[in-house]
């Protein structure tokens, strides 16, 4: 009897506790954080990037610089291969999830390598790893410095710009390791392309 | 070798599944043996199933089946050998139990088997005492060699602490009346037989805990093995049943599973060898846990008697005068104290004729001699001698105080009403005890001395003996109170006792060792009986208790550590057919899949036999701190347990690989 009554009482306590927690932690807590985050509007709204006042993307979310069929536009620096939706789909983040010994992975890498080699006119063994591998999120906003430099000649040629100037632009956009030792050096593709367009104006 | 051979029939009898069931680990092995045997018989007709995508040697299944049976037999053998050691002793005890006639006080005649609680029987010289009981009338010398193995007869008498007699022992002289205190079939001898045969052996709490752990490990491995084929049917090739059984048997802790009950029986047996009977295995284990040891001063810590160690002259008397008087006063004193004075005084001069011995009485508390020449010599308690002499020298008092404070007893000696000096009588602490107590301290055990002495004396002796604490002017109630306080603090207490007034304390203590010479009440109350009635044996009992646990723990560690090597033998052998890459795990370089698996099984069986002597003897116990003990045992049984099978399996594989087909 005591057990049953105890169990019933505890269940009733549990129901009330879940409801109170739901209001406190599911409504009040996020509301508080959202309000406080207003103090940092740039970050909390998604590090949006504007050109001429219009939002053209987020510096944190990678984009593809391709035509509707997915072919690389030669006048833009290209991002890494993406497995998010049809590529850089901000509503469907995803990696390829190919296993390390997967035949599909080898095929995909072969495809990407061949495409990059063809686009940049270099031999396949000059291509850095990030150029032929899909990122974890499918929304990786960065490429390696090596991959950015690899694209300089092609971009300069497509735009009729001086390759040295473009290379200098790339080098100015290289972000080093955070605090000198965290993460990897990288280039933000969207920011680089905006700067490129600016230079090309 | 002989003991092994005689234990073999027993080992076969124990294959009965109804008996095997009690040991879940070995029961699993037996099931595996049955299964493999069935497959081995069927194989010539059904053909051999490949395992892991590879063909195994034709005699593989037969080999596995045979060695699984051998594994089970070895385990049974271990138990049989352990039991065999008690068998001989039981047989001789049985003889004492043969039915004898009992003459009841009321004139009836009964068979000893029909005696019940409270019957009073008369036993005269030459007769066998028909049952356990207390003497309620008379005194007799009794031959107890049937139980204790000691041939010298002992005196048993009404009243006091030597009133208990044991059924099956023989009265050599005189006549006694005994009140029976045991029910038929539950006599001391009956219990003893059951104990040494291991028949009444019940699993001890700690053994149960270990069994649970071993069973859980076995369950895990059963699941591991059961899961293997569904998995390898997708990623690889399924293994054959004999291979899976072999893997399972290698993984479950067979070594400790096989030896666990032998270890327990051998532990009890070791106690029996020390002439101690434990009424339960639980008590033996508790002995290993004891943290407080209560020891009676007299007889345990000190020799029963005080000895003279020093003569201190006072009042201007010369040492020679004192020594001479002291010797004279003790010539007629038959007590050990008296003879020790004569001994210290040098030589046993014959008593001069016509002298009169004045014996010690409780009233005078003096003894001495009235010589033929009329001079009187006295020694005794200071107050009485001073009263006798009428006056005391000024320097007497400091001497008496000094001796008392050092734990000694001052005996004042006077001649012709003139006090000559003091004899220093001292409790002599048994040799080697201080070291043993230091050992106990290192083991984490506190020793407490119980004495009727005053606190001053007790303190001095305690310091000399090196005990950690003492209980002075102790009454039986004090003892119980002390034990209770210790237990409240979480301590486990062991004590010895013999008298009826010890019984409550013996019952209260976690380990109560009753002296065989003691009363039935004491023997009932305690959970062990020491047949030699040697109180210092408590220390050995603690040691045996610890050794029992250490042996279990060490062999468990060894058994589990063995699994590492077995994995390296079997896993590559199981899957190398499908995944040649896994061959890098074959670090022992075993010859073939079949030889690797068979070698692991053979090793698994042989290691049981190799360890039987250790299980019976027990792992060596040293009185050192817990961490150095653990370090040592981890090194030997943990690290050794990892390395040994690598070597063993490799050697066996070298032999197996000679067999054609492997």
């Amino acid at each position: 009897m005591a057990h049953t009554r105890g169990a019933f009482r505890q269940t009733w306590t549990a129901v009330r506790a879940v409801l109170v927690f739901t209001i406190a932690l599911g409504v009040l807590y996020p509301a508080l954080i959202t309000l406080a985050a207003q103090a940092m509007p740039a970050q909390s709204s998604g590090s949006l990037v504007r050109v001429d006042g219009e939002v053209v993307g987020s510096s944190l979310i990678g984009q593809s610089f391709t035509d509707d069929e997915g072919n690389a536009l030669p006048e833009w620096f290209q991002s890494r291969p993406s497995a998010a939706g049809a590529g850089y789909d901000g509503a469907a983040s995803s990696g390829s999830n190919y296993g390390p010994t997967s035949a599909d992975l080898l095929a995909a890498i072969a495809d990407h390598t061949a495409a990059v080699a063809a686009l940049e006119g270099v031999s396949e063994d000059e291509i850095p790893a990030d150029a032929y591998t899909a990122s974890a999120s499918g929304l990786d906003p960065h490429i390696s410095e090596a991959y950015a430099l690899l694209q300089v000649d092609r971009v300069a040629e497509a735009r009729g710009l001086d390759a040295t100037a473009v290379r200098e632009l790339v080098e100015s956009k290289v972000e080093g390791r955070d605090l000198g030792y965290l993460g990897e050096p990288r280039v933000n593709v969207l920011e680089l392309n905006i700067a490129l367009a600016e230079m090309d104006k | 070798m002989n003991t092994f051979a005689s234990a073999l029939p027993g080992a076969f009898r124990k294959l009965d599944p109804r008996l095997m069931w009690r040991n879940p680990v070995m029961f699993l092995v037996e099931i595996g043996a049955v299964l493999t045997t069935a497959i081995a018989i069927a194989e010539p007709f059904t053909g051999r199933a490949p395992s892991g995508g590879a063909e195994l040697a034709p005699s593989f299944t037969v080999g596995i089946a045979v060695w699984l049976w051998i594994t089970v037999l070895f385990a049974n053998l271990a138990e049989s050998v352990a039991e065999g050691r008690g068998k001989a002793q039981a047989a001789s005890l049985r003889q004492t139990r043969t039915s004898t006639a009992a003459h009841l006080v009321d004139g009836r005649e009964l068979s000893s088997a029909d005696l019940t609680l409270g019957d009073e029987v008369v036993v005269v010289a030459g007769e066998v005492i028909p049952g356990d009981g207390d003497i309620i009338e008379g005194i007799a010398s009794v031959d107890e060699s049937a139980i204790t193995g000691e041939s010298a007869p002992v005196v048993r008498e009404f009243g006091g602490d030597r009133s208990a007699v044991t059924g099956g022992t023989r009265v050599l002289s005189d006549r006694i009346v005994v009140r029976i205190t045991s029910k038929p079939g539950e006599t001391f001898v009956d219990r003893m037989i059951a104990l040494v045969e291991g028949a009444s052996r019940q699993k001890t709490p700690n053994e149960i805990a270990l069994n649970i752990l071993l069973a859980s490990l076995s369950i895990v491995f059963v699941i591991v093995v059961l899961a293997l084929n569904p998995l390898s049917s997708y990623a690889g090739q399924p293994a054959s049943v004999p291979v899976l059984v072999a893997l399972l048997v290698c993984l479950i802790p067979t070594t400790i599973g096989a030896l666990l009950s032998a270890i327990g029986i051998a532990g009890m047996d070791r106690l029996v060898q020390h002439n101690v009977l434990a009424m339960s295995g639980r008590a033996v284990e508790a002995a290993g846990d004891v943290t407080t040891l209560l020891l009676d001063k007299t007889g345990t810590i000190t020799y029963g008697n005080r000895r003279a160690v020093e003569f201190v002259p006072v009042g201007g008397a010369s040492e020679t005068e004192l020594v001479d008087a002291a010797r004279l006063s003790s010539l007629g004193d038959p007590t050990p104290e008296g003879s020790s004075i004569v001994e210290l005084a040098g030589g046993s001069a014959a008593m001069t004729a016509n002298s009169t011995v004045i014996p010690f009485t409780a009233q005078t508390r003096m003894s001495g001699l009235d010589l033929a020449d009329g001079s009187q010599v006295r020694k005794g308690a200071s107050s009485m001698v001073i009263a006798w002499a009428g006056s005391a020298p000024d320097d007497l008092e400091p001497v008496i105080t000094r001796i008392s404070e050092s734990g000694g007893t001052p005996l004042v000696v006077a001649r012709d009403k003139q006090i000559l000096g003091v004899v220093h009588l001292k409790d002599i602490v048994k040799e080697g005890l201080k070291e043993r107590f230091a050992d106990l301290r290192a083991m984490g055990i506190r020793t407490v001395m119980i004495t009727g002495d005053n606190p001053l004396t007790a303190k001095a002796i305690a310091a000399e003996a090196g005990v950690d604490d003492f209980l002075a002017e102790a009454t039986p109630e004090d003892k119980i109170a002390y034990i209770r306080t210790e237990q409240e603090g979480g301590n486990l207490v062991a004590m010895t006792g013999d008298g009826t007034n010890d019984a409550p304390a013996l019952a209260q203590a976690d380990v109560g060792v009753a002296m065989n010479t003691g009363t039935s009440a004491a023997k009932e109350a305690g959970n062990m009986v020491d047949l030699d009635s040697d109180p210092t044996k408590l220390i050995d009992i603690v040691r045996i208790g610890k050794q029992l646990l250490i042996t279990r723990g060490s062999l468990t560690t060894f058994s589990i550590a063995n699994d590492v090597a077995k994995y390296f033998a079997i896993i590559p052998a199981m899957f190398a057919g499908v995944f040649p890459g896994l061959a890098v795990l074959n670090i022992m370089g075993l010859h073939s899949s079949a030889s690797a698996i068979l070698s692991a099984i053979v090793f698994n069986a042989l290691v049981i036999v190799f360890l039987i002597p250790l299980a019976l003897r027990g792992v060596k116990y040293r009185a050192v701190s817990a961490s150095s003990l653990l370090g040592r045992n981890l090194l030997i049984y943990g690290l050794g347990g990892i390395i040994a099978p690598f070597i063993g399996i490799k050697l066996i594989d070298l032999v197996v690989s000679i067999i054609p087909g492997f």
Binding site: S137, D140, G183 | V220, S233
Partner: protein, 548 residues
């Protein structure tokens, strides 16, 4: 150079966790032992009808845990099934029955396995009112159970082990909520978003369209890591730039995952009155963590690629995060473990197979480690000739039975779950045809990983596996539920049994449990027990794949 950066990052983690150890551990001990109640807590107790002063025996405490979790599961199930009625649903429909079942259990059990892609499944309503709430309270339940077990050691001859409702409340009000508020704002500063903007389409500089997601991410991200939950706001979890924008935020997230689990040994030491006991437990956890991180990083540097990794994190940033997440039962990822080299992916499984004890989840890591310690003490105690005792409590048949059952639970769930996936023909057809993404050995690894993750309440995945099927949703749901609550039953029973005992005084014959010797022994037992259990399946999966 790479090795240097790895060492520097490991040192950073060690220093920060080391600095947090004492203050955070002591604060936790204070929070759970003080007799003073905050005003907000008193109000809460009145609302739910609890007398904070009255302690419960272990079975009442357990009934509290189970009742609270059951109600939590029911509510979360209902919220998913009625999603379309909630505000901020973003147009998503109700989740399927089996998915809702799986997800409800997943978040209440602190596993946060996600069979679904959050980007495509849940609006902000379910994420906040359902998932975020459970992120808090499931972690608080873990803390409560751990504290109850510690009381088992520190109480003497007590019939009670504390009050579940008080422990639960304090875990939220004094520990998780304040820390989450703080860290959520720091995360926003690093670039984690916090808005209700939904998906925004923008025209890019090439004239194309890009979608920028929104959401109250930071508020959930903080508790996701602090509470070792791991359920991502987005499909790719902490690989998503809005959950983890840069290497600094990634390091911060690693530290958040480790902070409470590594501080709890201090709490343990403080509550049992011997800090050395805490250091010993923390040392075992620390050695395992460092060894595991080094092994996984070595494996990935030797043969890993950038497939499934973010450029900003690189290989080291990915393996450090992956180790931390799998060894703390968090299950968040900042790279795709499915694409790790076989041995590195195997290490992720090994981390979980250790039983999530190094340092494990919030609360669950400590109680798991203490249960293993009981086994270690039992064997070692025998070897010194005493009935084994831990902190003065005798380890007898009942304690060993409960500890053994605890140890048995997860391997059984992992092995049987994986085996059944291949043994039942209909299931196998579905698993092979629908769920497995990478066929062959790696596909076997995906299934093994899934059950390992579920039964150990980790929640990470070889994410190629399509787990949103009736079989996986149901089987993994059951594995998560049993993998969480059976051990809790055993731990609380253990706590009750220990609390009822007196404390045996320490003598030189007592096995010391604070010395390097014991640290080594406990380390050995943790490794050997799991190695023996999982070696065959690991050989069939990652080992066979890696040694091809």
């Amino acid at each position: 150079m790479t090795v240097l950066f790895f060492v520097l990052q490991l040192v950073t983690i060690a220093v920060v966790i080391g600095l947090l150890y004492r203050p955070l551990g002591d604060y936790l001990a204070y929070a759970f032992t003080t007799s003073k109640n905050l005003r907000v807590e008193r109000g809460f107790y009145r609302l739910i009808g609890v007398t904070p002063e009255s302690e419960q025996n272990w079975s009442a405490y357990l009934r509290g845990v189970l009742a609270f979790s059951a109600v939590g599961i029911l509510l979360l199930y209902a919220l998913q099934r009625l999603q379309q009625l909630l505000p901020f649903a973003l147009g998503f429909p109700a989740a399927s029955e089996h998915l809702s079942f799986n997800t409800a259990i997943s978040f209440v059990t602190n596993t946060n396995w996600q069979s679904y892609s959050p980007d495509l499944t849940f609006g902000y309503g379910v994420q906040l009112v359902g998932l975020t709430v459970q992120n808090f309270v499931s972690a608080a339940v873990g803390l409560a159970v751990a504290v109850a077990l510690i009381r088992g050691f520190s109480y003497r001859r007590s019939g009670t082990i504390g009050n579940f409702w008080v422990d639960l409340t304090r875990g939220v009000t004094r520990v998780l909520l304040p820390l989450s508020v703080l860290t959520a704002l720091v995360l926003v500063a690093t670039g984690v978003i916090q808005n209700f903007a939904g998906f925004t389409d923008v025209t890019t500089i090439t004239g194309g369209t890009a979608t920028i997601p929104g959401g109250p991410v930071a508020s959930q991200e903080a508790i996701k890591l602090l509470g070792t939950n791991g359920g991502g706001f987005f499909n790719v979890n902490s690989a998503h730039p809005f959950e983890n924008p840069n290497p600094v935020s990634s390091m911060l997230e690693i530290i958040l995952m480790l902070a409470i689990p590594f501080a709890l040994p201090r709490t343990f030491g403080r509550m049992v009155g011997d800090h050395r006991q805490g250091y010993a437990i923390a040392a075992v956890m620390g050695v395992l963590y460092i060894a595991s991180a080094s092994l996984m990083t070595w494996a990935e540097l030797s043969s890993g690629t950038m497939e499934g990794k973010e450029q900003r994190f690189g290989i080291i940033g990915s393996t450090l995060f992956g180790t931390t997440s799998t060894i703390t039962s968090t299950g968040a990822v900042n790279s795709m473990h499915d694409s790790f080299s076989p041995l590195a992916g195997g290490m992720a499984m090994v981390n979980m197979m250790l039983g999530e004890v190094a340092p494990g989840g919030v609360g669950s890591g400590l109680y798991g480690m203490l249960v293993v310690a009981i086994i270690a003490v039992f064997i070692a105690g025998l070897m010194v000739g005493r009935t084994p005792e831990y902190l003065g409590k005798k380890i007898g048949a009942r304690e060993i039975k409960l500890a053994s059952l605890y140890i048995l639970t997860t391997p059984t769930l992992v092995l049987l779950g994986t085996a059944l996936s291949f043994a039942i023909p209909a299931v196998r057809a579905d698993v092979e045809g629908t769920s497995i993404w990478n066929p062959g050995l790696h596909g076997f690894g995906e299934v093994l990983y899934a059950f390992t993750s579920a039964a150990n309440n980790n929640g990470s995945a070889f994410a190629g596996l399509t787990a949103n099927t009736p079989w996986f949703n149901t089987a993994l749901g059951v594995a998560m539920m049993l993998g969480r609550f059976l051990p809790i039953v055993f731990v609380l029973a253990l706590a009750g049994s220990l609390a009822a005992q007196d404390r045996v005084p320490v003598t030189t014959g007592t096995l010391p449990t604070h010395r390097p010797q014991f640290v080594g022994l406990l380390l050995g037992v943790v490794v050997i027990v799991s190695a023996l259990t999982y070696f065959p399946v690991l050989a069939l999966g990652p080992l066979a794949e890696g040694l091809q």
